[in-house]
């Protein structure tokens, strides 16, 4: 298998043992080691920005923004409705995937709850059933009550909730990351306008 040709140009030292060759090459060996060191330095300088580029998405602090879901009048008290919106963090070429759906529940005149469509188990889209007052997940059978608390199945917690506020008769939510256990639907920083209807919601709001 291994019929390698002998390297040409080595006949001059052909009568030396490898150890003797090594000794004879001490300056070249030193230069070679130096060149390895040089390449290690250059490689590091090259690699740092490349790794930075690669890890860029993981490092970015994208907090999302407030987005209008509609006027308050569009949501009758006591009902839960599906609302679509364009993700505020969408980018060029996202196409249909830029769209987001959420469930808006108007619990009372002043109290809303806006649930992420994503099941808290593994992110599948939950569906609302008004008659049994349950959200059901098609993937692994997670179920939630109308206030988003866990009813049964594999989810370990209730539905993710968006932070909301009412401004000028409109319902706004703070949207950004796709909601998962680590990136919950929540406000990254302080809301810009402090009309916080959510403050009296108590247990309904997940800590920011």
């Amino acid at each position: 298998m291994s019929e390698f040709l002998e390297h040409p140009g080595e006949s001059a030292n052909g009568d030396l043992t490898p150890e003797e060759k090594l000794a004879a090459h001490s300056r070249r060996t030193f230069l070679f080691k130096l060149s390895v060191l040089l390449n290690a330095a250059v490689g590091t300088v090259l690699a740092v920005p490349l790794v930075g580029y690669l890890l860029g998405p993981a490092m970015s602090k994208n907090t999302g923004s407030w987005i209008v879901l509609g006027t308050v009048d569009e949501f009758p008290v006591g009902q839960t409705r599906l609302v679509d919106f364009e993700s505020p963090v969408a980018r060029l070429g996202d196409g249909q995937t830029a769209k987001v759906a959420c469930w808006v529940r108007r619990a009372s005149e002043q109290q809303f709850q806006v649930f992420a469509i994503n099941c808290a188990h593994l992110g599948c889209p939950v569906r609302w059933f008004a008659q049994s007052k349950l959200f059901m997940c098609p993937c692994h059978g997670g179920a939630y009550y109308e206030d988003g608390t866990r009813a049964s199945g594999p989810p370990e917690r209730g539905l993710f909730e968006y932070k909301y506020k009412i401004s000028g008769g409109s319902l706004l939510i703070h949207a950004g990351d796709m909601p998962t256990l680590a990136t919950q639907a929540k406000c990254g920083g302080k809301p810009l306008v402090q009309i916080e209807a959510a403050t009296e919601k108590g247990s309904n709001s997940w800590p920011a």
């Binding site: 890890l55 996202d94 692994h140």
Partner: protein
């Protein structure tokens, strides 16, 4: 004439010598191909590795051809698959070849691995060949998963959501990990681009390099000899014994052993073509629009078992199991030849190995089967599409029939079946009254329990009454009703036992 023939032969030989003197590869490769191998491994059991390689080449070729049309953009990917399916001549066939080729490749790689495991071929001196093989299996599964994302339909979209949700459970770095996988805060253009990069550049590169190393080591150590009970692998003697066996019984790998590989590879390629031709391409299913929520996402065949396992894990165990078990399993597979590198090779002397393969295959088979019909998922349309069987409405009181309406209207059927129609999340209700008393039913309906949500907020007292009265009539084939022995003893007599036909039931309840 003879002179001309001779001149042609001479010219061909001269060209060959010119080429080989400059290239230097033809002779060593021919020599490697014709290397002697023990006659006992020229068997139909030794054809899976070469078949997997042939399938890899098929995937590379069909993949390149698909990439001529496919648009790896979140905006256009789904549409470009429709174009491939309907507007490009034979585009559907290329997609089908690539899709079926992928399923065949995963299957053949798994069979290859089981064969090597059962034959003890991973033992000395082929430990590293096995380890590289485990990595090749993971890369193959990586290709299957990223390939499913390339379809960029509803299943791909929500499959990415499942992947991100699993990643989000990693402690401390969950959020950065999700962003790294998705390429941004949401599933979108960046997500498809990076999965395309993985599917087309990164993983295939590693796969081809890995296959090269895998085959090189197979040549270096020779194809393992057929295991014999009692022939022990020992690091001190194995190589000498293998050498002697090869010298005594050796036949040239090409052509004496390789013809079986070639025939099997041809049969596999033919099967892929037949499946592609008769069953067509996979999907794409609905558009990747996350506001279309009328969907029940499901992964491709080889990931169904994971999908099923995720439905059965209790919430408290889920995150640790998801994050720790894969690491342990992969580490165990990698460490196997280092731990068990010597000893018996024959399967009759390795009962635990046989038991392991049986249990693992059976478990994967059961979970995959469950994944095909997902009994844990509510059937979202059952309450409007599956009517109450007429026989359950005969001879019922108005109140009981009202209860049947409540059962239907409150979506009970999404999880409970009647006469075989409806969800399987909860138990079938056909004989519920033979298992539960009226009091138990009321408690279960209002408070929930087990996997059942509480309906206390969704039912008013009269609805509850009607519902439970209807359920009390469901006793299968005239089974005895469930009774509460304590109430009978206390003599209160206040429990409700409907009889059939309904006239006697009325009499009974006064």
């Amino acid at each position: 004439m003879a002179g001309l023939k001779q001149r042609v032969i001479d010219a061909a030989l001269k060209s060959y010598e010119w080429l080989e003197s400059r290239l230097g590869l033809i002779k060593p490769i021919s020599k490697a191909a014709a290397h002697p191998t023990p006659a006992n491994n020229a068997s139909w059991m030794y054809v899976f590795g070469s078949a997997a390689t042939v399938l890899l080449i098929l995937q590379v070729v069909t993949g390149i051809l698909l990439a001529l049309v496919y648009s790896p953009s979140a905006n256009e990917a789904w549409g470009s698959l429709q174009v491939l399916n309907h507007n490009i001549a034979l585009g559907w066939y290329l997609r089908a070849l690539h899709g079926w080729g992928s399923d065949f490749m995963v299957a053949i790689v798994l069979i290859h691995m089981v064969q090597v495991f059962l034959f003890g071929a991973y033992k000395f001196p082929r430990e590293l060949t096995w380890i590289v093989g485990v990595i090749l299996l993971l890369l193959t599964l990586g290709m299957a998963f990223t390939g499913q994302v390339m379809r960029f339909d509803q299943d791909a979209y929500w499959g990415l959501g499942i992947g991100a949700s699993i990643a989000s459970r990693v402690p401390f770095v969950g959020a950065p990990l999700v962003h790294l996988i998705l390429g941004g805060p949401i599933i979108g253009a960046a997500t498809l681009s990076r999965f395309f990069t993985l599917h087309v550049f990164v993983i295939p590169g590693m796969l081809l390099a890995g296959v090269g190393v895998h085959i090189w080591m197979t040549l270096l150590h020779g194809v393992s000899d057929w295991p014999m009970p009692g022939r022990i692998v020992s690091k001190a003697t194995y190589e000498k014994e293998y050498h002697e066996l090869t010298e005594k019984t050796g036949i040239p790998f090409v052509p004496d052993a390789a013809w079986k590989d070639a025939v099997f590879a041809a049969a596999i390629l033919f099967s892929v073509m037949a499946c592609a031709f008769f069953f067509g391409p996979f999907g794409p299913s609905g558009q990747p629009d996350p506001t279309i929520i009328q969907t029940a996402p499901k992964p491709d065949f080889f990931f169904l078992w994971i999908y099923a396992v995720l439905a059965f894990l209790p919430a408290s165990m889920e995150t640790p199991v998801m994050l720790i078990v894969p690491v342990v399993v992969i580490a165990a597979m990698l460490a196997l030849p280092l731990v068990a590198g010597e000893g018996e090779r024959h399967w009759t002397r390795r009962p635990i190995a046989v038991l392991m393969v049986s249990v693992i295959a059976l478990s994967l088979g059961i979970f995959t089967r469950l994944g095909t019909y997902t009994p844990w998922s509510p059937i979202m349309e059952a309450w409007t599409s599956d009517a109450i069987p007429v026989k359950y409405l005969h001879d019922r009181t108005p109140l009981e029939r009202q209860g049947a309406l409540v059962l239907q209207d409150k979506q009970c059927r999404n999880c409970h079946s009647l006469n075989g129609a409806g969800g399987q999340r909860g138990p079938a209700l056909d004989d519920i009254a033979s298992r539960m008393t009226e009091d138990q039913m009321i408690r279960q309906v209002l408070q929930g329990g087990g996997n059942m949500p509480a309906y206390g907020n969704a039912l008013n007292p009269s609805e509850t009454k009607a519902l439970v009265r209807f359920l009390m009539t469901l006793r299968g084939n005239g089974l005895e009703p469930a009774i509460d022995a304590s109430q009978k003893l206390s003599g209160s007599g206040a429990f409700y036992v409907p009889q059939r036909p309904v006239h006697s039931a009325l009499k009974n309840t006064k």
